[in-house]
Subunit: 232 residues, 2 copies
DNA sequence: ACAATGCTTCGGCTACCATCGAAGCATGAA
DNA sequence: TTCATGCTTCGATGGTAGCCGAAGCATTGT
């Protein structure tokens, strides 16, 4: 009676069609809510809940609570790699998977989330801050580094004193609705968005109720200069 | 109704405990017979047959017929890599697999298979020949290259004329019983073994019925000089 | 030719697990 | 507070797939 290898357990988690659909839906690195994953897999929420509990127990996905929602993402790149490998094996025996991309126009580009910047540019901004060690992120907690403070003072005239608030944290990771990755919230996120408006880099769309944020031509340039990812 | 990704299909193949046991048993690159795999998985041969058919249809294993037996091996390194990845994911959630190594003493090292060399050294020899492009191997068919002929003439005084036979091929891949990888059979394999004996590099064990081949001290050195894998 | 071995196919049984309806919590909004 | 939304737990059902016994080919050896 040799000790069973749990390779079978992990594989069987991926082996169910519903769970496999969920996992492939998460492959782009973004997080999805439980009910969205249910719809993605074509099953009811209660069934999805059961599946997600198993995936979590198996260490394939990690939940993140945000209000009433429960966002799920792949735990790390290792999981994604294995899924990629499985997809590769599956591909050469015949089948290929076609994924649908995002369809929305400008709302995904930049919009207001409460009082801070969200959308593609918002995510890009936090990515840039993190990559250049201007902030440190551990899960949902973000803290400003010393270099970060200098950077804000120099380029955006934001001083630490402006950011203190009795109940609200300076930095907070907020899950982006369209990108499904984190952008920057908290008093700093709000202050930066306000500064962008004051500098005439961007403004909320005029149409009432719209959350779209329109960047000016020069604003876009300045933003890219500060937070560009080098690909542009 | 989106086209189903067959990632689930492949994963479900690995997801069954019996099949997972078979696959992990094949992870060392050696080939095993259907009944051996059945025993490895703790199931009856007819059940194993069903599993192996599925694994073959899924492109995870490849069969090779040899006499009454049917040897199975992993199709390629990609499959092994994915299995490795799955094992890695499984490992960090708790479980680890311990594999038993080979137990036999000298029979695995070197022995006679009909009239040619088998065992660790036999496999090592064919590996060396293939790696140095002295032979070309495609599945079970092996052919001697021009460099190979020169090599044989120079180091072992074997000329192509000695190898012709009305019914028997010059080269043939023979599945090694202990190593479960190919070694060299055919008239060339026999001629080389015969030459090793003539050169007093090796001799069949004296005990009657034994298939063990004993290498002399100098013989081992000479053999390693010609076919060593560089690791010694 | 006959027997033995290795593997496969067939048929029926059983057990597991995905699935959904209904009800129960939790969070946020009015 | 009360209502609505999102998610989970519970219980029951049904389909599927693993499993083995028996029989059928294929190959090898005598």
């Amino acid at each position: 009676m040799k000790s069973g290898p749990d390779i079978a357990l992990v594989a069987s988690l991926v082996g169910d069609p519903a769970r496999a659909n969920m996992l492939t839906a998460l492959m782009n690195g973004r997080a999805l809510t439980a009910s969205e994953l249910a719809q993605e897999a074509g099953i009811t929420p209660q069934t999805a809940s059961s599946h997600l509990a198993k995936l979590e127990a198996g260490g394939l996905v990690e939940p993140e609570k945000q209000g009433r929602h429960r966002y799920y993402r792949l735990t790390d790149d290792d999981v994604a790699s294995v899924l990629e490998g499985l997809a590769g094996l599956a591909a050469r025996t015949g089948h290929m998977r076609v994924r649908t991309g995002p369809k929305d126009p400008a709302l995904r580009r930049a919009r207001i989330c409460y009082d801070h910047l969200a959308g593609d540019l918002g995510v890009q901004m936090l990515d840039s801050l993190r990559e250049r060690h201007l902030v440190r992120q551990k899960k949902q907690d973000i803290e400003l580094t010393a270099e970060g403070e200098r950077f804000l003072a120099k380029h955006l005239q934001i001083s630490p004193g402006m950011l203190t608030h009795p109940r609200r944290p300076v930095c907070k990771a907020c899950l982006d609705w369209s990108e499904r990755r984190h952008h920057l919230a908290g008093t700093l996120g709000a202050a930066m968005m306000q500064r962008f408006a004051e500098l005439k880099w961007a403004a909320r769309d005029a149409t009432p109720g719209s959350r779209v944020v329109n960047f000016t031509r020069t604003g876009e340039k300045q933003f890219a200069a500060l937070f560009g990812d080098g690909k542009h």
